[in-house]
Amino acid sequence: MTKARQLLIVLLIGFCVISGCDPKPQGAGATYQVDNVPIPDGLLAETGGLDFLSDGRLIACFTRGEVMIFDPKTSEWRLFAEGLHEPLGLVVINDTEIVVLQRPELTRIIDTDNDGKADVYEKITDDFGISGNYHEFNYGPVRDSEGNFYIALNTASSGGGIRENVRGELRLNGRDGEDGKRQMYSVVPYRGWVLKIQPDGTVIPFASGFRSPNGLGFDDLGNLFVTDNQSDWVETSTLYHVKKDRFFGHPASLVWQEEWKDVDPFALPISTLDSLRTKAAVLFPHGIMANSPTQPLFIKNNEQFKDFEGQFLIGEMNRERIFRVMLEEVGGEFQGACIPFIDGQGLRVGNNRLAFGPDGSLWVGQIEHGWRGDQGIQKITSTGNPPMDIAKMSLTRNGFALTFTQPVNPEGALAIKNYQLRHYFYAYQKKPFDEPVDKTTQRDLQSVAIKDITISADQKTVALVLEELKPGYVYELKLDSIFNQSGKPLDNQLIAYTLNNLLPS
C-alpha cells in the first residue's frame, strides 16, 4: 500500500519555490537567457546525470540516489528510481529503461510494469575495483552507435586511504610510496582507465593514464573525448581524444597493463612516460579557463547554438562558466582552442552535467559534493540575438586565423593593439611532494608580437601573422575593442589555442 501511494506521488512545483529563482538581469542584447528549473522541496539537487526521454521530459539523477523525471510542460517532478549509491551519470535507453553508473556497478534500471516507476535494477557489470577511497568516482556512461557503454574511473585520492575489504585485486605498486600521500593512485583494477562495456556486460579496458576524468562525450563521427582535472601529472586541465590502448599521462593506472604490472610507475623516467603518452588535444589554462572541467557535449543540428555546430560545450565547476572547445585535425591528431561560452548571467558554479533538450536548449545540472560547486538545474536558451563571438580559431602556416560569427568592423579588427597574445607551456611532471594540489606553473610565459593582421573580404576572418610558432605551447589571445558593424562588442574576449602540431609545410 505504502508503495502504491509513493508511486502516485507527483510533485507539483510552482515556479520560484527555490530562493533566487529569478534569473539575474541579462542585458538587452544578451545572447543567452539562463533560467532556473524549479526544484522540489527536499531534493538536494546535486546533479550526477541528465538526459531526455523521447517525449521531451528530463530525467536526472542526484547524489542521494534519486532518479527523477521533470516534465517541462507541467513543471511536475516524479520519482523514477531511488536508493542508488552516488550515481554520477545516466543514459536513456528507451522510455522505460535507463542505464546509470553508480559507485559499485553499471546498472540497467527498468520499469517493467509501465507504472512510471522502476522495479528492476540489473547489474550490467561490476567488473572493476573499489578500494573504498572516497575519490574513486565513476563517470559516464556514454554510448556509441553500436550500443557499447564507455565509463571513466577516477583514481583514488592521496588525501584518503583504502579500506580493508577492497573489491578486486590489490596492486600496491599503483601507489607512490607506502602511504600513498603523494599522488593520486590506482591500487584496484582499472582506476584511472576508460572502460568499454559491451551490451552483454563484457568489460574491455580501453585507455589509461587518467587522473580525475569527470566527463566523456562523443563527436558525430564516433570520436570519444574525455576531460581530466588538473593536479599531479596533469599540470593544467585537459581534453583528450581517447583512442583504444592509448595512455594519457597519469602513471598510476599503468599497473593494470600487463607489461607494467610489476613496476613502480611513479619511478619510471619522465622521458619514458612522456614517450608513452598521448598529449591532450586541448589544454584549459588553470585559473584562467577552467580549474575543474566536466562533461563535453557535442553541438549537432542545433538551431539555438548553430554558430557553434560541430564544437563541444564543457561545464566548469569553479566558475559561473560553461566553455566551448573547437577542434581541428593537424598532423593526424586533434588540437584546438577553448573559449568561454557563457560566463555569469545567472549561471551558477558547479556545472557538472549538460544535455540538450528536444528544442535545442541547453540544460545544466550542478553539483558540489564537498568541493566548490552548487546545486540545481538551469536551462540556457538563445534569446534570438545572434552571438557576436569567435566562431573558430584555427592554425595557419604562420599564425592563427580567427573567424567571427558576424562581420567585424575592420578598424578595430586590424589594430594590432587590440590583440594581446601570450604563449606558455605546462610541464609534464611528477608533482613535487610538497607542492599544493592546485598549484600550476605556466612556463616560459612570454608576450608574443603580432607581425601583421589581414582581414577577409567578407570581414569575418582575420589572420594574425607571427614571427614564429612553437609546438608544445598554449597561445592565449586576449581581444579588445573589436565590434561588429553596429558596434556590438565581442561576447567573449579570451581564447587559448593548444599548439601540439604545426601544419605540414
Binding site: Y121, G160, K478
Partner: protein, 365 residues
Amino acid sequence: MIFGFAFLLQTALLAQGGDKKITTIAIKAIPGLQFDQVRFTVSPGAEVKLTLSNDDDMAHNMVITQPGSRLDIVNAAQKLAEKGPEMNFIPKSPLVLWSIPVIYPGESKTIQFIAPEEPGIYPYVCTYPGHGFIMYGAMYVSEDSELPDLAKDENIPPSRRAGDINEDTSENTSAHHHPKWHPYDNSAPYLYRVFIEGSSLASIAVNLPHQLSYCWDAELCQLQFAWEGDFLDNTDLWYGHKNAYAKVLGEIFYKEKIEFPLRIGTKESIPDPEFLRYRLIDGYPEFHYLLSGVEVHEIIHPKEDGSGLIRTIKISKGNDPVWFILTPGEQVKYEFNKGKIVGGALMLSPEEAKEFTITMTKANK
C-alpha cells in the same frame, strides 16, 4: 537584543606594548570554503596584525575591502581572466584596502595595517575563482566592540549565522533528527546502496516495517547483518569529499558469521557468487544471484509481529541438494518450513529448495 562577544574574545587579543596597542587577529581558511572566524571587531585607527593560515586543501587569498564592496571586488577578480593567477586574483582597485596573496595549504601569512578611522563594516573575502560568493567575513570597526545578533548578521555567510562551526557540526551529525533527505517521504520498505561497516563495498541496506533493517552484501551475495531501531544516517557518506560510511542507527541483533552460508551440492562446497539484480516486489527487493552458476532468488520480509525476519529463498533450477549453515550462537532462533537439520546445517533436497523459508526470530534479551 543579544550581542555576541564570543568571536571577539576568541580572535582578538590585545597586546599591550608601551603606548602602542596591537590587535592580533588569527583567521584560518578551513575546508568547505570558509574562514573559521567570520567576524571580528577592531577599534578605529587601531594597529592590527592579521594572520591568515590555510588549513584547507585548496588555495586561498584574502582581500579586505571598503564597506559594501565585497561583490564588486569578487566580480572584478573574476574579470582578471588570464591575469588572475599572476595577480593572486586580487584586482587593482581603490576598493581594496589590504590583501594577502594566494597561500597554499599549510602556509600562513601575516599583514599589519592601521584600521580605518571611519567606523563601519569592512568585508574580508577570498577572491580565488569561485570562492568569493561564499567565503567571506566582516571586520567591524567600532569603538564599542559590540556585534549584531549572529543570526541576523547579513555581513557573514548565511551558513554561519546559526552559530559557530562546532555547533554546526554537532547538529549535522545528530543522529535522531535528520532533516528531510528526499522530496518525498520514505516509508518502509526502501533501500540504499551504501558503504557500510561489516559488509563489502557493494552493499544494499534495506529498511523494513517494524523498525527492522538489514544489510545485504552484493559482492558475496548474502545477508550480512540486521538491526532494529532507526535506519541509517548517510550524512557523512553523501558529503562525498572524505572516506565515510553510512551509520547504522539501531542495535544490531544478527550478524552472519559464516562466509557463504548457502551452499549447493555438499556442505563444504564454497560457491562462486555473482550478483545479477534485484526486483522490487511491493517495495521489497528480491535479490537474484548465481552461486557457482545456479540462480538463486532471495527476498526478506519482517515477521508479522516484528520479532524477526523471514527469508524466502528460491532455487528453482537446481539439481543438487542445498545446504544452509546456521550461524553459531544465540543471536536468533531459526525455524524452517522445509528440510532437516544435519550437524548445524539445514539440508534440503533440490525439490525442497525450489522454495523454502528461513525464519530468524530475535533472541529474548
